[in-house]
C-alpha cells in the first residue's frame, strides 16, 4: 500500500504487518495489566497530528518502536517471538524508506507534534521497561489504524 504522509509517499507491506500483529495481539495485550493507561493516545489521540507533520512523526514513531519497543518484548513463546521479529524487520524496512523520504522532502515536526512525541516518550518512561514495551506493542494497531486513515 502507498501511504501519503505529509509530503512523503511511502509504500509498505501493511497486510503482512497487520497479519503478524493480529496473530499475537491477544497474547501481547494479556501481558499488559494496566489496560486503562495508553502510551500512544494519552492525553491526545494521534489523529490530532497535522497532515504536514505526519511524515516526521511517523518516522519518529517507527524509530521509537525499533529502538525502544521490540527488543524488550522477547517472550517464552517461540511463535510470538517469530511474529515480533517479522513485524520488527518490516518496521526496519519501512523506516528506511521513511528516513530517505524525510531527508528528500525536509519533513520537520511542528511544535504540536514534537510535543505529542515527547508525551509518548514520557508515557513510556513512566513504566518499567518491559511493561512499557509490551503495552506499546499491544497498541500497535492504534498506530496502524492512524496510518491507514492517512492513506
Amino acid at each position: 500500500k502507498i501511504f501519503h504522509l505529509g509530503a512523503c509517499r511511502v509504500s509498505m507491506s501493511m497486510t503482512e504487518i497487520r497479519a503478524g500483529f493480529s496473530a499475537i495481539k491477544a497474547n501481547i495485550q494479556s501481558r499488559d495489566p494496566l489496560r486503562s493507561l495508553s502510551i500512544l493516545s494519552h492525553p491526545h489521540s494521534l489523529h490530532k497530528v497535522k497532515v504536514g507533520d505526519r511524515c516526521c512523526i511517523t518516522h519518529h514513531l517507527f524509530t521509537f518502536y525499533v529502538d525502544k519497543v521490540f527488543k524488550h518484548c522477547r517472550t517464552e513463546d517461540s511463535f510470538v517471538n517469530r511474529k515480533i521479529s517479522s513485524i520488527a524487520n518490516s518496521f526496519l524496512s519501512a523506516r528506511r524508506k521513511l528516513g530517505q523520504c524525510r531527508e528528500q522532502n525536509n519533513c520537520v515536526c511542528g511544535e504540536e507534534s514534537t510535543e505529542k512525541f515527547k508525551q509518548i516518550l514520557a508515557n513510556y518512561e513512566g513504566l518499567n521497561v518491559t511493561s512499557a514495551a509490551m503495552k506499546s506493542l499491544g497498541e500497535l494497531d492504534i498506530l496502524l489504524d492512524w496510518m491507514e486513515k492517512a492513506r
Binding site: G20, D67, F70, R74, S78, N81, R82, A88, N89, L92
Partner: protein, 204 residues
C-alpha cells in the same frame, strides 16, 4: 561431545514466487537418524537485538533436510540462516548459510493460465500461486494489437470473465505475476488465443 557431529553443509535457499525453503546436505551417521534445527536472524536481530537468532519450531529436531521459511521471512530485509545437526544429546556446530537472503530476490514465474471461449465470452482460468502474488492480464483482439486491455487481479477465483468477444473473432491473452511487497513482476506467459463462436459479421 559436540565435535563428533559435523555441521550440515551445502546450505542454500530455494525461493520461488515468494515461497522460501532452506535446504542442506544430510549428515550421515550409520544406523542412526540425524535430526536438524534451523534458526534465522533478520536485520533487526543483527542490528538491534544483540545479534540474536530465532528458532523455527516447525524445523526444530526435524529429520528432513528442508525447512519452509516463508512465514518467517516476511520483510524485505537481509536475513541470515543457520542449521545444526542433532543426534540424541550430541549437537553439531552451527552451519551458517553463506551470505544473506532478501526476499526481493525471489524467482518469479509467469502464471499458469488457460484461456477459454465460452460462446462469445473470453474466460481465463488461473492457478492460485499464494497470497503474496497478484496477476496482470493483457488481452486484445487479434489484429488489433494497438488496443491491448489490462486487468489486474489480486485474488484468484477459478474462472475469470475477461471480455465479451465479437462473433467469430480471435482474441489473445498473456499474463504476468506481480508482487507488490517487493514491487517486481515475472516475465509474461506464452500468448494464448481463442476464437469466439458465431460467424464474423459481414458488412454489405
Amino acid at each position: 561431545g559436540d565435535a563428533l557431529l559435523p555441521a550440515p553443509q551445502s546450505i542454500s535457499i530455494l525461493s520461488i514466487n515468494m515461497k522460501h525453503f532452506l535446504t542442506w546436505s544430510p549428515v550421515i551417521v550409520q544406523g542412526a537418524t540425524v535430526r536438524y534445527s534451523v534458526e534465522f536472524q533478520g536485520e533487526y536481530e543483527r542490528d538491534y537485538a544483540n545479534g540474536s537468532w530465532i528458532p523455527i519450531s516447525e524445523c526444530s529436531r526435524t529429520a528432513a533436510t528442508v525447512c519452509n521459511l516463508t512465514e518467517d521471512i516476511s520483510a524485505s530485509v537481509a536475513y541470515r540462516l543457520r542449521v545444526r545437526a542433532e543426534l540424541g544429546a550430541t549437537r553439531s556446530p552451527w552451519g551458517t548459510m553463506e551470505g544473506f537472503f532478501n526476499r526481493a530476490t525471489t524467482s518469479l514465474t509467469p502464471p499458469l493460465l488457460r484461456v477459454l471461449a465460452d460462446g462469445q465470452h473470453l474466460l481465463v482460468e488461473l492457478a492460485d500461486m499464494g497470497p503474496a502474488l497478484q496477476f496482470r492480464l493483457l488481452y486484445w483482439r487479434k489484429g488489433h494489437e494497438g488496443r491491448v486491455q489490462q486487468k489486474v487481479m489480486r485474488e484468484v477465483s477459478s474462472v475469470v470473465h475477461l471480455d465479451t468477444m465479437e462473433a467469430g473473432a480471435e482474441y489473445c491473452v498473456t499474463a504476468q505475476t506481480h508482487v507488490e511487497a517487493i514491487d517486481r513482476s515475472s516475465s509474461f506467459s506464452p500468448t494464448q488465443c481463442v476464437r469466439a463462436q458465431g460467424d464474423p459479421s459481414v458488412w454489405l
